[in-house]
Symmetry: D2
Amino acid sequence: MAKVKVGVAGYGTIGQRLADGVAKQGDMELVGIADMAPTLAIRALYEKGMPYDLYLVNGADTAKFDEMGIPYKGSFQDLVDQVDVMLDSSPAGIGLKNKRIYEAAGVKAIFQGGEKNEVADVFFHGYANFEKGLDQNYLKLTSCNTTGLIRTVDALDRAYGIDKVAITIIRRVADPGDYNRGLTNALQIEKAPTHQAVDLMTIMPHINATGILVHTPVTHGHIITVLATGKNGKITKQMAMDAFKDHPRIRILRMEDGFLGNASYFKYGRDLGHERGDMYEIGLWENSIVESGDDIMYAFVVPQEAVTIPETMDCIRAAMHMQETREEGTSETNKYLGIGKFKAMGLG
Amino acid sequence: MAKVKVGVAGYGTIGQRLADGVAKQGDMELVGIADMAPTLAIRALYEKGMPYDLYLVNGADTAKFDEMGIPYKGSFQDLVDQVDVMLDSSPAGIGLKNKRIYEAAGVKAIFQGGEKNEVADVFFHGYANFEKGLDQNYLKLTSCNTTGLIRTVDALDRAYGIDKVAITIIRRVADPGDYNRGLTNALQIEKAPTHQAVDLMTIMPHINATGILVHTPVTHGHIITVLATGKNGKITKQMAMDAFKDHPRIRILRMEDGFLGNASYFKYGRDLGHERGDMYEIGLWENSIVESGDDIMYAFVVPQEAVTIPETMDCIRAAMHMQETREEGTSETNKYLGIGKFKAMGLG
Amino acid sequence: MAKVKVGVAGYGTIGQRLADGVAKQGDMELVGIADMAPTLAIRALYEKGMPYDLYLVNGADTAKFDEMGIPYKGSFQDLVDQVDVMLDSSPAGIGLKNKRIYEAAGVKAIFQGGEKNEVADVFFHGYANFEKGLDQNYLKLTSCNTTGLIRTVDALDRAYGIDKVAITIIRRVADPGDYNRGLTNALQIEKAPTHQAVDLMTIMPHINATGILVHTPVTHGHIITVLATGKNGKITKQMAMDAFKDHPRIRILRMEDGFLGNASYFKYGRDLGHERGDMYEIGLWENSIVESGDDIMYAFVVPQEAVTIPETMDCIRAAMHMQETREEGTSETNKYLGIGKFKAMGLG
Amino acid sequence: MAKVKVGVAGYGTIGQRLADGVAKQGDMELVGIADMAPTLAIRALYEKGMPYDLYLVNGADTAKFDEMGIPYKGSFQDLVDQVDVMLDSSPAGIGLKNKRIYEAAGVKAIFQGGEKNEVADVFFHGYANFEKGLDQNYLKLTSCNTTGLIRTVDALDRAYGIDKVAITIIRRVADPGDYNRGLTNALQIEKAPTHQAVDLMTIMPHINATGILVHTPVTHGHIITVLATGKNGKITKQMAMDAFKDHPRIRILRMEDGFLGNASYFKYGRDLGHERGDMYEIGLWENSIVESGDDIMYAFVVPQEAVTIPETMDCIRAAMHMQETREEGTSETNKYLGIGKFKAMGLG
């Protein structure tokens, strides 16, 4: 069977990782990536010897690329014309413009969380609604926090039925290396309800969700607390653990093992030798799980740079109908990304 | 009527503010403060012209005080012998030792949140259990987070009856000026349930409470989210606002007015010209209040340096039986501390 | 003699402190302040009972002020028409527009460091070039870092003659309460030479100055290191101390006293009970002074919010010819601001 | 020729990278690493499939390793008995104890910067004094800041002769993942002169060095400014660039390329796909270089986690007399670590 051909638009924090993710899928081919300026990310790609082909979007300063000796294969249109599906991780708002190019070329496209919902026909999460994505042309991924959140709520919901959730998002305010945004000695609160709760309800309309978000001055890893109310009576700590512990994209952490917060998790990803130190799994603290009457409360960390990559691979699988069901789709993605092996080693 | 004579042990972050608080009470007299070394706080007291008399605890390096020319009135025992009640804000653990001195002198004492519960006969909060403190000899204040938390939960409970609460504490990790503790680019999670929830249940045993605490790298103002479940059906946003809006120690904030987070609140206290920029009130965001089914969720900021001062003044009033009821006790405190005037001006 | 009448345009971080500074000068009268929106600073002014009269600039949303019940005295023009001199601390760029209004009204004006040099005829520093400001109409203050820097270099220069300086500025990136700028876990370097070195040469053209600036994620207090080369041979540590120790606007700090960094200095200002915790003096560490061959190296902290206030008062004195010489001018300012009394107490 | 056998004591931040560094040297063999507890670093090693053999030091809790299923090869003594040279990156102070074991076994040892100088016969830097290390038994590496600093000073010194340097170190206060140290919204100054200047003089006794160090709340990358005075007259910006631009372990950065500070440099290492995102080179900003009279000033970033690895490899080469000269020794290290290839690509 021919490999599915994939292109990536926008080689920023997410785009770099999408490209890496596609390159690891045995049944996909990364045709190339597109960007507009010789950013540090492109410079690093060049220093690495151009493992991915580069295409330049309209308006790119080709002279600058030439001057630095960075080779490119062609235009954005050239890239689009070769692929089955485009992953669009352009800056927010650009995706909508790009969509016309995809439509004209008859190419499917998957947009990231920053883009408005209107850009897509389906709002997608690999575990929660894989089948809704089957054969669709324009899909949008949940954002990093929502992706991690839904992994946990979906796990509880399938096991016990969930009626409602109330979340508190302790958000990292900038990515490592960001100089265009940041907070210094300040927490910043957003108007409630936070969009992640609203987004969860779009994907899982049978659940009532609300929540509050506070930005904090750190660069790697949101921490989210969830209070979940079951549909069918009490959910105990043991029941919650049972639902979480076999999920390939959830690592169970314990503070006594040294996982003291988001910084430990980031360091662990680096020490694992992962490219860029990335983690695809969220980390959920066993010691955070507490019962509140019949409800269950827990906390987890979301490695924001890479967490949506697996669900985006799932999304390609659904859109291209490479697999039939969520089990098959997510399991192929997991296999190629090396997700879940730690489970068998007893490492959470 | 003779003024109640008060001493303060430990002139650190809390002790400085306790002394200021007592000095403002028209029916109390601050006899003096006690400390052990010429810290920056003592140095500032000296530069200000010694508005409060200083007593030296056992083991103090008197030579150093002499060398700097800082005058002192006598020993710790000298201070204790002159007062009706001691406010003990010594470093954690010292209060228990000091208690023997207070007992020997027949002097009442009020301990701060850092001390173990065993040090006291009553765990006290001005609004939640004023009457329990009446005529007691050894009392302990709730910690800063618990003090703020109970203000809000008590307000809802008296109005509508509360069955349970689940809280997320986004904690500031150090005070301004701290060099002995701190986090850099890291969130740190604690084992759940967090002690503030347990403490709330000690004060309000009819309520089920649990929660999760995450330390964040900021120095001024915890933010707490609360999900509260009523005893008697739904609590609407309007009902919650009704309960909060007349509480003298709760300011209602709106993001559109410029209150974007804990740093805005800290700045506002400084701009108000308050001594040290302190705020006695917590700040609760109207835009954070959301309904979660029948439950109500909200967020507020706790100015950790000064928030327990009013409740400590209440505690003196109860221990010395200066007033009879919570309404009378808290209202005298508020009058002397200038709390609540902003309510009449329509400022939250 | 009639008091000099002063107005303040822009009631932000600097404007608030300019107003406070003028209000403390026994020979000046603060006619009022002008701003455009009911910011938190204006809200605090209102909560304090409007100690200063408010005037609204063109385009202000008067309805909002009316709605909140905040009283105002008139228009910006009304304010300008009543004063002898305007202190302009509007956002950068606005000062130049305002200048036309000042010119038309025949009113002198003093601009802050954010405005371009072209706005003024004299670039002013109270200690370095007081006499140049005499009777001038349009003057500009040095920025916070430059103001502190020149205090130290001028002190050395008058004592021993300085040939050149090389500085490293470890800059705080945002003010307390700022949400519109900030860095998170990042140092940011600027192109060298940094403008403060260039500005120093404008004020002290006989000195060669250069330097490098790095922004750091803190909110209160720049730290600057200086390497100064004498004109006439070696400058020893003792010689440097002799030059610094009697300067009223330089506090000598020692780490063993608890002054561990910028955060200690900020805390000390709060503990002194200063309005907003402000410090007018820079703090220079005795333990930082080291000899580098014949050159001398030292470090000091610049409390950015208030450090330029004294020099601005000096500037009014020069522009209005209230005093004749730098000694007389700065000494009147110091008297009214309470600067230098700590020297007599042996506190640095 | 038989490979040189190397062991690593202490598998922390530095030890992990030393092991990786040795494993990349074609003429060395990493026999194993030793540690005491199943830290996150060891856990990651296990999850990676134990690419390096583990030995347990005395007092290690073997039961814990057994429980987790982490295999180990033997005792610390077993490791020492198999190697030619030990790299000791134990916590400060332990190295001195370990030295007795190395002496008894007749094994050479190289200690890291945290250990006291007395532990070693030679204080070593690959570029500055390679030949001093030849055939020595006990050597100590310069610390991270000193290592980077000496690269630049040595380059200038060999080209033009350096008489003295004055440095300002803007130090990162903690490593990524550290929870046991940190600063929050605070700069902290150390007593001058800072030890890195003193250490430089130990290695390069013909140079006069002094400086000031300020800790800042960031986790990745110190920034150092240097003012260097030549022995033989003026050093221009061009002369400095000439000395720096061909140094394999110095990258030339420009702000306009996106290298805005230490966070850009850290991100770049991650984007390069380096293990753990590590960088062996320091990054020196071309736009920071300015002339101060005849002196030259510049700034660079020191990636503290990995910067000493190349010089430690050089040190093994010297101690084992694998090469004869600094040119040969450093060039072999560079070859195996992939250092300097970017120079040929025109990337700084």
